[in-house]
Amino acid sequence: MRPFRTPYPAGGTRHRPGRRSPARWRRGVTAAMVAVLAMAAAALPAQAAAPGGIYTGLDGCPVNSAVMKDPTHLQVGCMTSTTNGGSMTIGSHVVPITSPIRLQFGVYWDASAPVVDFPSGTTANVYRTVPPSKGQTLTSKPIEVNIPGIGNIIPGVTSVYADVELAGPITEFVPLAAGEPHPAFVMPIKLHLYNALFGLKCYIGSDRAPIVLRPTTGTTSPPPPAGPISGDPGVIGIEADPNGHETIVASFTDASLVDNSLAVPRANGCGLLGTLDPLINLVFGLPSAAGHNAVVFSDTDVSLAISPSLADLTSALAASS
């Protein structure tokens, strides 16, 4: 058996005059690196390409989640939405949404076939949600909030940055509630407040006492003194899979979801040992009872893929890449 020979001299970088020219040696090194990289690439699991076409944006679809794989599920799917505008009102303080808020999650309709009946006679499936396989369920950027009564001279000191964070799983996802006086989903959130003086764990709401949003594209029925406000399901589109799969994609473009029945709890964790909590509560009027607050998610685009089977959904997403 012939001994294995390296293509370049033992000792690595050392060049031996008369045996190989520098150019030949560099070519050899380059070829070796290419080969190594090719082998490494081959050894790695293939990175699935992002879904395209009607499935664009659903790259976080958790098709490999153990929860999604339960064979008793009647349907599975995944959803993404981006809100580009709107506002959150706490008492008399209105905070515009100036940066996109993105939601993404998987959904399944379990074997018990939960539904909700609307006055119109429509019966809508109620889906449970699953965190995405990639990224966060809720993604947003901090929004600067002026402190009432204080001129904003130094952002972050004389103002507050508020970031929306989930305070629990999104539940009761009802896509067919579009246009109906029923929440599209229930989403517990907390507002993470950033300010030079507030510390790192300053929140309005918490996992235990969240701000519970029940946004609807229909008309609300809030407690007084608030009056009904209406959302808008936007322009709906339903598309069949272009490759013949059973999966369909429902899209809602330029929708508006509203909720003015939410209550906003007290601040917590602000300043050393929460010493600034009372100040924030005073400034923002917390806690603020239901009927005094509102959230509007406007300019919202939603895309929902839904299928009777996980295998079909997985194939549909893969085929769209």
Partner: protein
């Protein structure tokens, strides 16, 4: 004298009118607007019940466009009407449409998986049938022509309510096959989720139309 002339004219007119009513009208040769078994046949009596199913090979459809084939298709449908008036032809008979059913329906609207039910609401509807072969069904403001469809979809069951545009449907009667044909009669969504199609165009061909007399005679339009 003047009074006498007026009286004379009135008496003459009355006599002429009486004579006209008494004499067999020439139109009577064609019979009443609705007749049994043949043109010019026995008049369909007031109170008779007329009914028809879909003509052989025909479907009742509610498509989302006038030229497409996307929407709901039913292979069974019937209507029932009661004759209210049936004058001498040419003229217009009036009826009351008391029953209209659609069943054995399917949907090929994307996202739907089937049709649970279709119900025609607010019956009865005033209906006319003219010697010119025009059948007109008209609703009222209080009882508009309306249909409620329950479509099964992946996301749930959609209850979609549609109303006839103009609150009227117009069809064409024919003595060939004793049929009534509706073509692309427009309906607009009145209520229901946004996933319900916004429009529907109703088409169907019913026949033969028969009366409820002995032998279920065919109904002709004169």
């Amino acid at each position: 004298m003047r009074i006498n002339r007026l009286l004379g004219a009135a008496v003459t007119a009355a006599l002429l009118t009486t004579a006209a009513l008494a004499a067999p009208a020439s139109a009577a040769a064609a019979g009443n607007v609705l007749t049994y078994n043949s043109t010019g046949g026995a008049a369909v009596p007031v109170g008779a019940v007329l009914s028809a199913s879909l003509a052989s090979g025909a479907n009742a459809t509610l498509y989302t466009t006038t030229t497409g084939t996307t929407g709901v298709k039913c292979t069974a449908s019937t209507f029932t009407s009661t004759v209210v008036t049936n004058p001498i032809a040419p003229g217009t008979a009036t009826e009351s449409t008391t029953g209209h059913t659609l069943s054995t329906c399917t949907s090929n609207v994307v996202g739907t998986t089937g049709v649970q039910s279709i119900t025609i609401n607010n019956l009865p509807f005033a209906t006319t049938s003219s010697s010119a072969g025009v059948v007109t069904i008209t609703g009222t403001a209080a009882a508009p022509i309306q249909t409620t469809m329950v479509l099964r979809s992946l996301l749930g069951n959609l209850t979609c309510v549609y109303r006839a545009t103009g609150n009227t449907l117009t069809g064409a009667s024919s003595n060939v096959g004793n049929t009534i044909t509706f073509t692309n009669q427009p309906f607009a969504k009145y209520s229901g989720p946004v996933t319900c199609p916004a429009n529907g165009y109703f088409s169907a061909k019913y026949g033969p139309v028969r009366g409820n007399a002995a032998g279920s005679p065919l109904v002709f339009v004169n």
